[in-house]
C-alpha cells in the first residue's frame, strides 16, 4: 500500500463509492447525479458556497437523507436500506449537537453504550479519547461549562470514540473565531493522521479546505466542478468557476492558435499566451486563459525583446497589504489585471517603487497560464 491510496486508483478499492446520486427537495435538485470515490485514510474536503449541495451529500452519507436515485456504498456494503443508527459512519455536527443534559464523559460514552460495549472498556476508551483531545480535566463538566474550542473537541471525541470507518464533519471549524480556527486546522489534520480514520469534511472556507485536504471536490449547484488535490485544483483548474472560486484569477477569453504536443499558443486580449506543456484543447476553439495575480511579474522597465507572455498597462489602483501589494493595472483594451507583488524593499519614495499612473510591464512564466475549457 502506498502512502496515498487515492493517487493510485488501480491498486486500491475505494472505501466509499458513490454512483449517480441524486437528491431533490421539491423542485430543487440539491445533489445532481454525482459519482465519487473516497479511499481509506483520506481527508476529503467538499468545498462550495451555501446551497451547493455539500451538506445534503454529507447527510446522505450519514443516513439522515435518502437519495431519489443512485447508490452509496461504504466498505463494500450498499447503504440504500441502512438507517443512520446502523451505519459505520459518525458525524460531527456544525452546531456540535452535544447533549446538554449529560457531562462530557457521558456525551462521549453515549455511542459506546448503544453498542453494548462492556462498562470497563467504555471507561478506558473514553479516557483514551479524552487524552487525545486534551480534555481529561473536564470530563465531569457539562457542555455549557466549556469554551467554544473545548466543545468542538468534545464533539470530535464523541464522533471518533466509536472508531467509525468514515467520519463526517460538517463545517467543523466554522463556529470558532479566526485565530483559533487556524490553530485547530492543524490539530484536526494531526488527529486524523493519528487515528487513521477516513474524514469527509464539508466547508465553505477554501483556505481550510486547502490546508486540511488530501483531495477536495469543488461543488456548485449539486455537481462536482472538479476533484483533485489542493495543488491540482489551485494550479490546474479546469473551469472559470473553479479558477475564480479558489484563490483569485484574471481571466481572459481567447482562441487556440497552435496545439502542439509540448506547447500551446492562445490569442487573447493580452496578446499571445504561450504555454510550455501540452493540454487537451482544440485549435480554433473558444477558450479562457487564467492568470493568478501572484504569478505575474510587474516591472517599470520595458522587456528587452518582444514576445509572448507580456503586456503593458497603467497602474490604476494600489492596495498596500503590508507583506504584499495589490496593483490593479489597466490594459490598453480597458481591462483590469490584478497583480500581487511582495514588498521586498522598504521604501515609499524609491525611484523603483511603483506608484499610481505609472506605465508598467507585466510578464509571466510559460508554465503559469491556466487553460480553462468552460
Amino acid at each position: 500500500m502506498t502512502d496515498a491510496p487515492w493517487l493510485d486508483h488501480e491498486n486500491n478499492t475505494p472505501l466509499v463509492q458513490i454512483r449517480g446520486l441524486t437528491k431533490k427537495f421539491g423542485s430543487v435538485t440539491a445533489v445532481d447525479n454525482i459519482d465519487l470515490d473516497i479511499y481509506q485514510g483520506e481527508l476529503f474536503c467538499l468545498l462550495g458556497g451555501s446551497g451547493c449541495g455539500k451538506s445534503t451529500l454529507l447527510r446522505m452519507l450519514a443516513g439522515f437523507e435518502f437519495p431519489e436515485s443512485g447508490s452509496i456504498n461504504i466498505g463494500g456494503e450498499d447503504m440504500s436500506n441502512v438507517s443512520a443508527y446502523e451505519r459505520p459512519t459518525n458525524m460531527m455536527f456544525q452546531s456540535y449537537a452535544l447533549f446538554p443534559h449529560m457531562t462530557v464523559e457521558k456525551n462521549i460514552a453515549f455511542g459506546l453504550q448503544q453498542d453494548r460495549v462492556p462498562k470497563s472498556e467504555i471507561t478506558d476508551r473514553v479516557d483514551e479519547i479524552l487524552q487525545l483531545v486534551e480534555l481529561q480535566d473536564f470530563k465531569k463538566r457539562k457542555p455549557q461549562q466549556l469554551s467554544g474550542g473545548q466543545r468542538q473537541r468534545v464533539a470530535l471525541a464523541r464522533a471518533l470514540v466509536k472508531k467509525p470507518r468514515l467520519l463526517l464533519l460538517d463545517e467543523p471549524l466554522a463556529a470558532l473565531d479566526k485565530k483559533l480556527r487556524k490553530q485547530t486546522q492543524f490539530e484536526l489534520a494531526n488527529i486524523q493522521e493519528q487515528v487513521g480514520v477516513t474524514f469527509i469534511v464539508v466547508t465553505h472556507d477554501q483556505e481550510e479546505a486547502m490546508t486540511l485536504a488530501t483531495r477536495m471536490a469543488v461543488m456548485d449547484a449539486g455537481r462536482f466542478m472538479q476533484i483533485g488535490t489542493p495543488n491540482e485544483i489551485y494550479e490546474f483548474p479546469q473551469s472559470r468557476f473553479v479558477a475564480d472560486f479558489i484563490g483569485s484569477a484574471n481571466i481572459f477569453a481567447g482562441r487556440v492558435s497552435e496545439d502542439g504536443t509540448d506547447h500551446v499558443r492562445v490569442d487573447t486580449d493580452l496578446g499571445e499566451v504561450y504555454i510550455d506543456h501540452g493540454q487537451s484543447v482544440t485549435e480554433g476553439k473558444q477558450i479562457w486563459v487564467g492568470l493568478r495575480p501572484e504569478k505575474i511579474h510587474v516591472s517599470k522597465t520595458a522587456p528587452k525583446k518582444a514576445g509572448p507572455n507580456q503586456v503593458s498597462g497603467e497602474v490604476e489602483e494600489i492596495g498596500y497589504l503590508g507583506e504584499t501589494s495589490i496593483y490593479k493595472v489597466k490594459l490598453k483594451t480597458g481591462q483590469l489585471v490584478d497583480v500581487t507583488a511582495p514588498n521586498q524593499v522598504r521604501s515609499r519614495s524609491n525611484e523603483q517603487s511603483i506608484t499610481w499612473e505609472d506605465t508598467v510591464y507585466l510578464s509571466w512564466e510559460p508554465s503559469s497560464a491556466m487553460l480553462l475549457n468552460s
Binding site: 459512519t89 459518525n90 461549562q145 473545548q150
Partner: protein, 280 residues
C-alpha cells in the same frame, strides 16, 4: 423628560395592579367577615373558616372531584398532546398534515359552549348506542377536558420541539441509538420544561372550566366552579370566600416556589457561563 415619563408609567402600572388585585384583596378581607350576608360587614371573625372546615362537606367533595379530574386530565392531555406535537414536527410531510395541524388547534378557538354542547350530544348518543358512559360525571368531564386541553399542550410542546431543532436527535441516532432510545434519552429530557408547563396549563384549564363541565356533568357530580356558580344563584354563603382565600394562598405559594426555582436555574446558567469563559 425621562422623569416625567417614568412617573406616568408608575401611575399606569399602579392603576393596573390595583385593578387586578383590589378585588382579590376584598375577597380575602370579606372571608374574615362575621356577617352572614356577603356584602355586609359584620366585624372580624374566623367563623366562615370553621363553617368551611366542619360544616361544608359538599365543598370539599367538589374540591376533591375538581382536583381528581384536573390531575387525570393533565396527565392524559400531556401524553396525547406530546404525541400529536411529535407527529407534527418530527414526522416530515405526511398526507393530511395540514388538516391534522388545523384540527389540532381548533379547540383553542372553538367557543366553549359549542364544545360542551357537541360533547353532550356525543355522550348521549354513545350511551344509547353502546350503553357507555352509563352516567355522566367524573368520566365524561375528564374526557371533555382532555379533548380541549390536549390542544394547549400540543401547541406548547410543538413550539419547543421546533425551537430545539433536530440536531441532538440526529446526533444520537448517528451514535447508534435506535428511534425509541432517541425519544427516551434525548427528546423527552430536552422536552421536560415544555412537558411541565403543558401539564400545569392543562391542570389549570381543567380546574377553571365551568362551561364545558356544566354541559357534560350529571347528577351529583359537582366540580368546584359548578358548585360556586350554583351557590351564586341560591345566595352566596361566605364560606366560599374562605375557600377562595385558601386557594389564593396556595397559588401564591406555588408561584413563589416556581420563581425560586427559576432564580436558581438562572444563577446556575450564569455560573456555567463563567466556568466556560474561564475554561481555556
Amino acid at each position: 423628560m425621562y422623569n416625567k415619563r417614568s412617573r406616568f408609567l408608575t401611575v399606569m402600572v399602579s392603576l393596573g395592579l390595583a385593578f387586578f388585585y383590589i378585588p382579590l384583596l376584598l375577597l380575602v378581607i370579606y372571608s374574615f367577615n362575621h356577617s352572614k350576608l356577603v356584602p355586609v360587614w359584620g366585624g372580624w371573625s374566623t367563623r366562615w373558616y370553621k363553617v368551611l372546615f366542619f360544616e361544608s362537606p359538599e365543598v370539599w367533595s367538589a374540591v376533591a372531584l375538581s382536583l381528581k379530574i384536573a390531575f387525570v386530565n393533565a396527565t392524559f392531555a400531556t401524553i396525547l398532546g406530546t404525541l400529536a406535537a411529535l407527529a407534527m414536527v418530527r414526522f416530515g410531510r405526511f398526507k393530511g398534515r395540514t388538516l391534522f395541524g388545523g384540527m389540532l388547534v381548533a379547540p383553542l378557538v372553538m367557543p366553549e359552549v359549542i364544545t360542551g354542547l357537541s360533547l353532550l350530544v356525543f355522550f348521549i348518543s354513545l350511551q344509547e348506542l353502546i350503553g357507555w358512559p352509563a352516567e355522566r360525571g367524573f368520566t365524561t368531564i375528564t374526557i371533555a377536558h382532555i379533548t380541549f386541553s390536549m390542544a394547549f399542550v400540543a401547541v406548547t410542546v410543538q413550539a419547543r420541539l421546533t425551537g430545539m431543532g433536530q440536531d441532538l436527535e440526529e446526533a444520537a441516532a448517528d451514535l447508534g441509538a435506535k428511534p425509541f432510545k432517541v425519544l427516551t434519552a434525548i427528546t423527552i429530557p430536552r422536552l421536560t420544561p415544555a412537558l411541565v408547563s403543558g401539564w400545569l396549563l392543562a391542570f389549570t384549564l381543567s380546574l377553571d372550566d365551568l362551561v364545558i363541565a356544566s354541559f357534560v356533568t350529571g347528577p351529583g357530580a359537582n366540580t368546584l366552579p359548578i358548585l360556586i356558580f350554583s351557590r351564586i344563584r341560591l345566595g352566596l354563603r361566605p364560606d366560599i370566600n374562605a375557600l377562595a382565600t385558601i386557594i389564593i394562598l396556595v397559588v401564591a405559594i406555588c408561584v413563589t416556589i416556581a420563581a425560586l426555582i427559576m432564580y436558581r436555574q438562572h444563577k446556575r446558567d450564569l455560573l456555567d457561563q463563567q466556568l466556560a469563559e474561564r475554561a481555556d
